[in-house]
Symmetry: D2
Amino acid sequence: MVVVLEKNVTQEQLENIIKHLEEYNFAVHKSTGEEQIVLGAIGVQLNFDTRKIKILEGVAEVYRITEPFKLASRSFKKENTEIKIKDVVIGGSEVVMMAGPCSVENEDQIFTIAEIVSKAGAKILRGGAFKPRTSPYSFQGLGEEGLKLMRKAADKYGLLIITEVMESSNIDLIEKYADIFQVGARNMQNFPLLRDLGKTTKPIMLKRGLAATVEDLLMSAEYILSSGNKEVMLCERGIRTFETYTRNTFDLSAIPVIHKRSHLPIIADPSHATGLRDKVLPMARAAVAAGADGLMVEVHHEPEKALSDGPQALLPEQFAELMIQVKTIAEVIGRKM
Amino acid sequence: MVVVLEKNVTQEQLENIIKHLEEYNFAVHKSTGEEQIVLGAIGVQLNFDTRKIKILEGVAEVYRITEPFKLASRSFKKENTEIKIKDVVIGGSEVVMMAGPCSVENEDQIFTIAEIVSKAGAKILRGGAFKPRTSPYSFQGLGEEGLKLMRKAADKYGLLIITEVMESSNIDLIEKYADIFQVGARNMQNFPLLRDLGKTTKPIMLKRGLAATVEDLLMSAEYILSSGNKEVMLCERGIRTFETYTRNTFDLSAIPVIHKRSHLPIIADPSHATGLRDKVLPMARAAVAAGADGLMVEVHHEPEKALSDGPQALLPEQFAELMIQVKTIAEVIGRKM
Amino acid sequence: MVVVLEKNVTQEQLENIIKHLEEYNFAVHKSTGEEQIVLGAIGVQLNFDTRKIKILEGVAEVYRITEPFKLASRSFKKENTEIKIKDVVIGGSEVVMMAGPCSVENEDQIFTIAEIVSKAGAKILRGGAFKPRTSPYSFQGLGEEGLKLMRKAADKYGLLIITEVMESSNIDLIEKYADIFQVGARNMQNFPLLRDLGKTTKPIMLKRGLAATVEDLLMSAEYILSSGNKEVMLCERGIRTFETYTRNTFDLSAIPVIHKRSHLPIIADPSHATGLRDKVLPMARAAVAAGADGLMVEVHHEPEKALSDGPQALLPEQFAELMIQVKTIAEVIGRKM
Amino acid sequence: MVVVLEKNVTQEQLENIIKHLEEYNFAVHKSTGEEQIVLGAIGVQLNFDTRKIKILEGVAEVYRITEPFKLASRSFKKENTEIKIKDVVIGGSEVVMMAGPCSVENEDQIFTIAEIVSKAGAKILRGGAFKPRTSPYSFQGLGEEGLKLMRKAADKYGLLIITEVMESSNIDLIEKYADIFQVGARNMQNFPLLRDLGKTTKPIMLKRGLAATVEDLLMSAEYILSSGNKEVMLCERGIRTFETYTRNTFDLSAIPVIHKRSHLPIIADPSHATGLRDKVLPMARAAVAAGADGLMVEVHHEPEKALSDGPQALLPEQFAELMIQVKTIAEVIGRKM
């Protein structure tokens, strides 16, 4: 931590600041500049609240110099985390496609879509059985029945399953059927849920919250990692800004930023980021060009009849076209699809 | 719902749009303007996804014309909701003060602070026993032990208790000790938690999420209300913006906005909104001047030793000064304190 | 400037970083911590681009430790800047009211409104003669004719005048009629305009831009101050966020923040911040409670016929009520109105 | 315009609302729904302030149904605007590269960089002679001397020139040397400047402001178009959000959004959007994948010595690599480079 003092700090204030730093177990190095004194507070305390120093008389600014996350950091683990599930590797040289409907609706629907996405080259089937809906009056998902249907469809077409878990009491149930737990944007800082998922043995995809900085996202990953589960992938799905022509603002720069800061894989979800079908294709291409380790997109063969988020689901032929386009783009940057 | 068609819409597209609207059970009124056709889709469907129409060929824009919330709306219930707990009324003519430490730390601390805030005129003791912390390495609260200490201190000084509930599995435990459940900003869209709290019989204070619009906040209140619990109060505690000199941006305009849109009381929390002690006093005054039904502020007699959020806690004498100032401001707008 | 090195920095990288710092004329202090080396770069360079160091191999983070503004800073000038114009003092113990129509429309209108606001206690008449309008098809103001009418009305009722200047070529013209130049939010970073206004001798009110941080605002004030004009007051009028129920988000916390960082007075404009008449009164009260040195509000006796921004103009009786309420609130915090 | 009335609107209020609409020259269609009356206000008034109706008693919501811009709209002009300058076409099938230093610094520098970017395939040389700098103490550009050097360098290497114009009084001077005027983000709503540029005959690139919605950007384009100059291209360069790991948030979704709403070409500037060299390459690829009609990037052969923005400038070899990568991506979506 670096503590910058005010230009007119008194000797008494200076001594008081140093006394506090030492009481908080920091070693103090004093460095006197042209106009200001700067104190280096030596000692790593991951969770130290720098405001404790900022409020002392005579302090101008305080800078934390260590990242607040450790296990999620690239400086803790240099090599990329590769998550292997059967024959699929997430975070390796291949860009992985996760596709499927927003919600599992019935047997016919999930089997039809599983076939479509499998044939076009997807490796992982997405679909919701427990749905977080803004309105209490909206369709909330089929529950366990949805999980069962999804498992059967995935097995028939050789796909893995990713599905959302919304509460700790459902973890065991979902673990029976799914290959990857998804934590939704609205639960990114549901710390008890993160802690409990950290005790499971299946991989977890953690979606970035609408108001979460990249640092917040990595701190939430740290919750899972520090509870014991090391197989965490992140997901950029748009943040909330003042722009209203799109549902959210897709922050694609987060992809190279996360690759620099962390060793964890990062997936991009253009369906939720944009909210409208005709924006999904260009933004999926852009995400791969920016270096995403995978894509998650919504696909539906009858989107007009979908029980949720139909308007952002790609049609089967659009999905097939997407797979062809992103494959070429992946190759431009030395990856496969 | 109002559907604006593109200027060059074809007859075939028009018929297709009308057919869809009718299949979704809307009655359709067509109105032809100078340049464009506008369709009125008559029929209230609280959770209809307007994007289903927006993606049809020939549609330029779609506007939902009914609010997506009902029970929380001022048009559903004209008179203010007043929440009575023993001799305290929240949402009535009195501005109610909730004060206390961020976290319950030990018996001495909570008794000392309870006495301070009670003597200065607070009616409700705040304090965390289960703490949502951004870092897994930070103090997570005393748990049930904290609840017990808080109850004893509150009873001794004639105070009510408000404390945060972070997960459904703790509801029963917390209900034994607390008078008001608090839902934190990060859980504002934890829908299973909202649904489960809707089945309890104690009042709930729902804090606005960092990226939540006022409409989102009212939708989350709707979850609780529609599950059966009608005693909901809201809390403005700052939203996330680009400004960095304050921890969050305190959106005080939300207070008159909510009073117009909803019958639910609205509390303001200047401690979390600003994050620094010397900004709490002016912003607490501003919140009362803007019409808040209550304030929640953090107070600590030894903030430098606090286990969490000490830097934003008011000192006892600052709290006493605050009570005097806001009392006069309350009277300016015809309220008491 | 403080330069934090990566944990695994090499000796060669370290030497290269120090070499660069020295070439940029900094003296370097090295401090070795438990995990990381921290370099203090001593020497004040107000406009140094810290990214020049951030991109060097081996650098983890760089922190500027001096504020980028000087003349606008409280550490440069301790006492509040008081701007005296005839018998009005802005930034002193009195809270000053600026009121009037959005635009000057005709003789009758500006005389009527000048009388209303003067009688209720305003000291300064606001009104636009050159209007920055989002649409090229909207009313753009009366130009010099508007300035003349405004001057006559102000003189008759003993008021000062504040009006907007949009381009350098109009400075001389406006200076003939106005007492205070207003720089609008959209021109806050129109640097040539700021530079040219810095050469005038009349006070300037600089409005905060919609995406401007408090630091940006102070940097723009620095442009004017460094060009020679020391009579600058700032104005908070709302920033752009994701919330849509109000036109902008009124960042009232900026008021105590600016009072701490700078010696310049800060005015609040609740009319533009909220955009709707019924929100102006509560937010004007809140601004005074938060410590604003003055208010700017729009008033119109026939707002339905106003050529611009009628919907946010207060009616005469609302304005009179506002004056009474804010007077009492000002007294609570030891000020007059 | 669509006017939704409150559920309990009185007959008197209804009549008053209709009377106002008619006075504002709208024809009124009344449509009675299950719960609410909806009025269609027929008649196109591009600049009508909908708040005039919103504030009337009995009105719940008002929706403008026509876009506020006309000349910039895709519904006004179906086919893409192609801007031809000598042998370069912007907005056609080719993706155009604009590259060069942030500022022109001296003859040697601009000739060296012009040669580098020309050889790698750029068609347009960028470079600032008049610089908008946040700090009054920063390098403000070489002025006319910079323009002369740039023209000579461009002519030698067969390049066109784009350079920024910050004030109307410089338009004539810059027009003598440049092929394209650039309007910077901070001047996007400098309406007098836009109006004056609308009277010139050279193409204009209008950069999106930091807090500007896509609609705001198109409204500013409308200013230029309605003043007579039809050769306008837009530029996405990042918006301001809460994220701090990047300088701005690059809103790439704006590219397909603008292509749908408008016929004007859209360029992407990853250098300013991200602010750091190692993020420019992935985000440039992403922009082309999203459908940008061109790229503007900063290149410098000695970025450590650059007088401005060196840290975001690509090195020559990085620029060459970028050209190769984006060429392939352009071909994926049927374009050339």
